[in-house]
């Protein structure tokens, strides 16, 4: 590689890293800016006295500021803490149901010569084209008559409308990429159809199934539209609408930044840990 090309490539790499990271790092910096330094002119890229008190205060604890003052817990702490707990519960249930339902279906659609296979796959994938705002309307009408508005169960149902087609789609392309004849070898060794799947195919697709689980969890944890419309203000409110209410109420921007960091940490960590698996998601596999 010529020197010039090397320089261009490295500069581009720095630009891409900055583009990716600056927005995230900036929120984290705002969250540790003490109130007296916040928005003071000229704006500083790093606070003189970093102040971590927003975090314990949002989790409902007292905290001592760098100047030695004891601060009360944040007024928004119960909103945020309940939001985080509800989000975790909903996301775990959504992930479990999605996997139980989608892994077998994706396997069958990818590797068995089924009648109606193409039609079925197309129908399931086509549902992904539905605008979320369009599906909220019938659910709004149905949930008010079924009493499911403002419940975790209702939210799980709406999240499944997103995760199920998504996981069937990516799962099908995962299973299709496994070597042909994998099951036949197991069958020759005396396994039943069912055991061939559980003992051979599933273990061979560990990383793929992990990726499916991570994607289902992230999708549910980050889901905003349904959560806003159905669960705002209820006891089953998840983190995104909780953050929205804090955001649009009277609140301190540095505190909102800290709340944002708390809620974004789980998806960021999960994605960072499993990025190698997520990268294998092949959206081009189904043609």
């Amino acid at each position: 590689m010529s020197i010039r090309r090397k320089v261009v490539v490295h500069v581009a790499a720095v630009v891409l890293a900055a583009w990716t990271l600056i927005p995230l790092v900036w929120v984290a910096i705002v969250s540790i800016t003490p109130p007296n330094e916040f928005a003071s002119r000229p704006l500083r890229f790093w606070p003189k006295v970093p102040d971590l008190t927003n975090y314990p205060r949002l989790l409902g604890r007292e905290a001592t500021s760098p100047s030695g003052k004891v601060l009360e817990p944040s007024g928004h702490s119960s909103l945020i803490v309940h939001g985080l707990i509800n989000s975790a519960e909903v996301a775990v249930v959504v992930t479990a149901i999605s996997l139980i339902v989608c892994v077998p279906a994706a396997y069958a659609l990818a590797r068995l010569n089924l009648r109606w296979r193409e039609a079925g796959l197309l129908t399931i994938i086509a549902t992904r084209a539905l605008p979320p705002i369009a599906t909220t309307i019938p659910f709004f009408a149905l949930f008010s008559s079924l009493g499911l508005s403002g419940t975790r169960t209702g939210l799980v149902i709406t999240h499944l409308t997103i995760t199920v087609p998504l996981l069937v789609w990516i799962g099908t392309s995962f299973f299709a990429s496994l070597p042909a004849g994998l099951e036949r070898m197991a069958r020759v060794d005396g396994c039943s159809r069912f055991r061939a799947v559980t003992k051979v195919v599933v273990p061979a697709s560990g990383p793929s199934i992990t990726a499916m689980a991570v994607i289902a969890f992230l999708t549910s944890w980050n889901e905003f539209t349904f959560a806003l419309i159905f669960n705002t203000g209820s006891t089953a409110q998840t983190f995104p609408p909780a953050l929205a209410s804090m955001f649009f109420q009277v609140s301190v921007p540095t505190e909102v930044a800290a709340a944002t960091c708390l809620g974004l940490l789980p998806p960021l960590l999960l994605a960072a840990v499993f990025q190698r698996y997520i990268r294998r998601v092949n959206f081009v596999g189904i043609q």
């Binding site: 891409l16 605008p131 369009a134 309307i137 005396g190 039943s192």
Partner: protein, 316 residues
Amino acid sequence: MTSTATVAPPHTPSTTPRARFSSRISTNRFGLLLVAPVVLLTVVIVIYPVAYSLWISLTSSNPITGRSRFVGLENYATALGSGEFWRTLTLTLFYVVCVTVMGTVVALGSALLLREKFLGRRVLMALIVLPWALSTYAAAVVFRYVYSPQFGFSAAVSERLGLDPSNILAQGSVIPALALVHAWQFAPLGAYFLLATLQMIPEDLYKLAKVDGVRLMGRFRYVTLPYIRLPMAIFLVLIGGQAATAFDLIYFLTSGGPGGSSRTLSFFIYEETFQNQRLGSGAAMSWILLVVVVALTVGYYKVALRVGNRDMKEET
């Protein structure tokens, strides 16, 4: 995609009675058994509600009594006859174009970069997953802090450069500014799967083209582009569809403002349905949105594939 042979050999040795039983059920039955839960779930939680929303779009409900009556296509006629509807639809299309262009530039640029060898390549490859992991609502929250004229990163930078921190989310620039956030969040996905395709292009093709004196842009046009045409088309459809139906990002950053200058169709549907309590009208508009998205997607695929085929013929 080919399905693998799963027909059992005639004398499968079986160890347990259960094995014998399940070996005997046909491939088709076994498959249907596995697919059944998804089919059932899709019918109950997707197809039924969607059908129900078609019904809602044909009714008009009274927000106070909650009673609704059948009005036929009136909601569609009202929507198509209203200036505001067309304004939001035009705005939506402008937004789609902005997001698609920015997202594609970033995704393709990242993919081309990540194909090169450089220090920290593996770290960068892992880093770019982060915006994707956040979803659009979280990206919007994060960019509130970047765009704010009082405490935003952009304000801090423009101060250093001696410029007045301007409001990026002002009327004139709000759509591109929102599109940038969307592109930031969605481009990593495109980068990953364009990269997967780029890595399949044989290195020799580039060497040959170089020997023949083909310049950088020419090598991109004649070597790279034919390979990535299909994944590109799929990425464009994905990101375009996402953009056309964007809601949470707009809700968080501008709530349709200032002065309705970022009121896209999705946001208009939200206001109409949940703020004005006109479910029928909202449902009708969301069906129109769906038809527009599907028509654009199908139209785009047709054009992209035809252009692709024509190029192939030219080259052979």
